[in-house]
């Protein structure tokens, strides 16, 4: 029996496992390309230090990658275990990019990561460099397919509902692949990964410089990270704007919630820099607004109107009423009482089927829905404003602060004075964890902002779960938290241990502090 408790626990478990997984993904995306850059420098210049850099940062990459793989396995199977109805309802479309991700990308990345670690003596320089690139390309291709899948959840195009098979079916593979929502998300997400990788290398290198350890090694690492990070931080902002534009086009409820736009404003709408949104009173207090800014950014025009929450809710109520007809027609079609009339009624209203299904939260018999239920379902169609408003702003503020840090780092590294700027080095050390926070905030905005849907406008979250008991879910949620937290502690322990050791951990005899590293046995 699917109760509200089951739905909430399923969501919590998915959120927890996805958040854990994404602690490891961005560093893989970014660091893999930094490794390729370092190794390219090694192959081009023949300087040993660049090979050592590739190996050392590669060691940290490996520590992170292991948990990325571990937590990633869960993601591939959790749709089936916990979201069985979702899997049935949209597997025809959603499963394809996941399977292609495995075939095209994950195989590539995973096969060559082993050769990256163990092939130094067995492969030629060029062969090894090639597999390093293939690993990086593989991990980024993975992101392409995963974000195509996720993009379809946000903007489900290239698919149609079939009442015979009772599910969504693919009508165009290329629509799915070239979904503008997916493309915008992909470039924004991988850029965020590059920023994370660059911040990681920049911060740890700065720490060596502050301690006066491995100075040559750290300086070269810093320079590469500063340049790569600067380009990435700019693109994350530009492409984040692109992603935001895609939201304006496809998910007006998400935009209204993250901007706290209760009322439709005259175009171009102002951007609310600061406010305290109140979801119960449906208004903001203490607003600080920049005139015209939101309208210009979100619509790239001066005359397109952005609908506010009140208006979107009224539209949703209208669609719900039409959806009721669709649900009822579908029920008779399923009961094999097929008449031309029902079929026509279904075809005419099927675009609003998902809205009719929103009522299932309140009544099994959608036809008997009261106006009060319709109002509640319409209200459900808007995500809660306060969490959206704040997480979005934290993400954006962090993004700009990264751009500033990288701009300064790049500037001083071009002038070759960065080692004297101890304030900059300290700043870089303290900023190491922040890209992760920004990424998680971004995912929160994207996924919490998709509510109450798993597939936007098509399938409500509360219908998407499996028929498992709340007891099972408490057990599995506790298990995931136990294993993931335990493994995270182990990972952090090793990360700190090896980051402190620095290149001494390679045992080449070229770096100070090698005695600190106890050999095995």
């Amino acid at each position: 029996m699917v109760t509200e408790e089951v739905v909430d626990l399923s969501r919590l478990q998915f959120a927890a496992t996805a958040f854990y997984h994404f602690l490891f993904v961005p560093l893989t995306l970014g660091l893999s390309f930094l490794l390729a850059i370092m190794e390219t420098t090694y192959v081009m210049t023949g300087k040993e230090i660049y090979r050592d850099m590739t190996k050392f940062w590669g060691k940290l990459f490996g520590i992170n990658f292991a948990l990325g793989v571990t937590t990633g396995i869960t993601m591939e199977f959790q749709f089936g275990t916990n979201w069985a109805y979702y899997s049935h309802y949209v597997g025809d479309i959603f499963g394809a990019p996941l399977a292609i991700e495995g075939l095209m990308a994950f195989f590539l990345e995973s096969t060559f990561i082993g050769l990256f670690f163990f092939g130094w003596e067995k492969l030629s320089k060029r062969q090894h460099l090639t597999i390093t690139y293939l690993t990086a390309i593989g991990s980024n291709l993975s992101a392409v397919w995963i974000l195509i899948a996720n993009g379809w959840m946000q903007n489900p195009i290239g698919a149609e509902f079939s009442w015979v098979t009772m599910r969504m079916e693919m009508t165009s593979f290329w629509d799915l692949v070239f979904n503008p929502a997916a493309q915008a998300k992909f470039v924004h997400t991988v850029s965020a990964g590059y920023v994370t990788g660059a911040m990681f290398v920049l911060g740890i290198s700065s720490w060596y410089l502050l301690k006066g350890k491995h100075v040559e090694f750290a300086k070269r690492s810093f320079r590469i990270a500063a340049a790569f990070g600067f380009a990435s931080a700019l693109s994350v902002i530009v492409l984040g704007d692109e992603s935001g534009y895609a939201v304006t086009e496809h998910q007006q409820t998400k935009l209204a919630a993250m901007e706290g736009m209760w009322k439709t404003e005259e175009a171009p709408a102002p951007f609310t820099l600061f406010a305290i949104p109140d979801d119960d009173k449906r208004q903001n207090t203490a607003e600080v607004r920049i005139p015209y800014a939101l309208g210009l950014i979100a619509t790239r025009s001066t005359d397109k109107v952005l609908p506010g929450i009140d208006q979107l809710e009224a539209q949703a109520a209208e669609r719900i009423r039409r959806g009721i007809v669709a649900v009822q027609a579908l029920e008779s079609l399923r009961a094999k009482t097929v008449s031309e009339e029902t079929r026509a009624a279904f075809e005419a209203h099927k675009a609003d089927l998902g809205y009719g299904l929103l009522l299932r939260k309140y009544t099994a018999d959608v036809g008997a829905a009261t106006p009060e239920m319709i109002a509640r379902a319409a209200r459900d169609s808007i995500p809660k404003v306060a969490p959206m408003f704040w997480t979005f702003r934290i993400m954006v503020a962090l993004g700009f602060s990264f751009a500033l840090l990288f701009a300064l780092s790049f500037w001083y590294s071009a002038k070759n004075t960065f080692t004297e700027k101890r304030w900059l080095l300290r700043w870089a050390v303290w900023f190491i964890p922040l890209p992760w926070i920004a990424s998680e905030m971004g995912w929160f905005v994207a996924e919490y902002g998709r509510q109450p849907w798993t597939i936007y406008g098509i399938l409500p979250t509360h219908l998407s779960t499996s028929t498992i008991s709340a007891t099972s879910l408490y057990g599995s949620l506790a298990g995931f938290l136990f294993f993931y937290t335990g493994l995270l502690v182990v990972e952090m322990y090793l990360m700190f241990k090896y980051a402190r050791l620095g290149p001494a951990s390679l045992g080449t005899g070229r770096y100070e502090g090698e005695a600190d590293y106890q050999p095995a046995r």
Partner: protein
């Protein structure tokens, strides 16, 4: 575009290929993990064992991931019904698999013997538990699983986790565990020498024999009147999939029906026995590469036998037989099957080619001397 019926059959074969790829590639890693605490007595020996699969386990594991993704894409109803129905079994597999990536990568990064022993047992769990549970799951598929669909096609599993652990399913679990361990032992013989080699050879002889006996036992069990399933309504193989649109009967001995209709199919279980027996003899005769090929053929035979016996059933329902999932009615749309067919056709050979190259580049015995001279870079 190929016609729908053909694609449905192709996808049954392709899922078989992916499962076989999983058994041959990830299977030997899991076998190596299962044997790790036993064939390696000292830390260096255990590192030898781990480093035989060190560069490859991650790529091999993708067969498992991809099989999961392909089932999602091609058989969404199977993905939804089986994984949610076998909830705790799936979680046990996932949680056991957690120990592999971290076990491999983290073990040698700290020298403390307790740390290393802990990860050794982690790798053991990560190898043995999934290998056992996959067999148990197959055993339960052969028996039929208590589930039905609601009107909206929501799958509802009505059994318990403990009911999965019945005698036949456990026997199937033994077949699977022994088979992958056997295969892993043969792989270890290829890549090691000395003491580890000798212990791996002994393991190969033991687990090869266990696999053959357990497989024969399961065969006798099925042949001696175990209930199978047959579709009793007219099959419209090219129709739009709807699992509730058919009638199904439970009949003793029905799983032998395909073999009676097409006696050539006896070659499939025959390959299981012949491959297993040959591999056993070759391991005894110290021909590890051929033994490894033999145990791969045995895997083809064993997995193929389960598939062929049940065809066209994938997941029969014991409590509501008409809800049973078959290759005809649990599939994706014509377009999706077609797109995925081309994706598999293009990428699977590429994957096999570069995997082969990777093995070729890393070929050779892993020795204790190698571990000692690569203390910091080896696993």
């Amino acid at each position: 575009m190929l016609d729908y019926e053909t694609l449905k059959i192709i996808w049954w074969l392709l899922v078989g290929v992916l499962l076989l790829g999983f058994a041959v590639m990830d299977g030997h890693d899991m076998g190596v993990g299962t044997l790790l605490p036993f064939v390696g007595r000292t830390d260096v020996e255990r590192r030898v064992v781990i480093n035989t699969v060190g560069p490859h386990w991650d790529g091999n594991q993708v067969w498992f991931i991809t099989a999961g993704g392909a089932i999602f894409a091609a058989w969404p109803l199977v993905y939804a019904t089986a994984f949610s129905g076998f909830y705790w079994a799936m979680l046990a597999v996932l949680w056991a698999l957690f120990f592999r990536p971290v076990g491999f990568d983290y073990r040698s990064k700290v020298a403390d013997p307790r740390w290393r022993t802990a990860w050794d047992w982690g790798l053991f769990v990560g190898g043995a538990v999934p290998a056992l549970i996959f067999g148990v799951a197959f055993g339960n598929l052969l028996l039929g699983v208590p589930f039905h669909f609601e009107d909206n096609l929501m799958p509802v599993y009505t059994g318990t986790f403990w009911a999965l652990l019945n005698p036949f399913a456990l026997l199937a679990g033994v077949v699977s565990l022994a088979m992958l361990t056997f295969h892993g032992a043969n792989y270890l013989m290829v890549r090691t020498e000395g003491q580890v080699y000798e212990r791996a050879r002994l393991a190969s002889l033991i687990f090869g024999a266990v696999m053959l006996v357990a497989f024969a036992g399961a065969g006798v069990w099925v042949a001696s009147g175990m209930k199978g399933y047959v579709i009793t309504s007219v099959v419209e193989a090219g129709a739009l999939p709807n699992p509730l649109d058919k009638s199904v009967a439970i009949q003793a001995g029905a799983w032998l029906g395909n073999f009676r209709k097409a006696p050539l199919l006896w070659l499939v279980p025959g390959a299981g026995f012949a491959g297993g027996l040959l591999a056993l003899l070759l391991a005894w005769a110290r021909k590890p590469v051929l033994a490894f090929i033999g145990s791969a053929v045995a895997e083809l035979g064993v997995i193929g036998t389960a598939g062929v016996a049940m065809f066209p059933f994938i997941m029969p329902s014991s409590s509501d037989p008409r809800s049973s999932l078959t290759v005809w009615d649990s599939v994706s749309s014509h377009l999706t099957l077609s797109v995925m067919f081309w994706a598999a056709l293009i990428f699977t050979p590429i994957v096999i080619a570069y995997t082969g190259w990777a093995y070729k580049m890393m070929a050779g015995k892993v020795t204790t001397a190698f571990i000692e001279s690569h203390d910091r870079s080896a696993y």
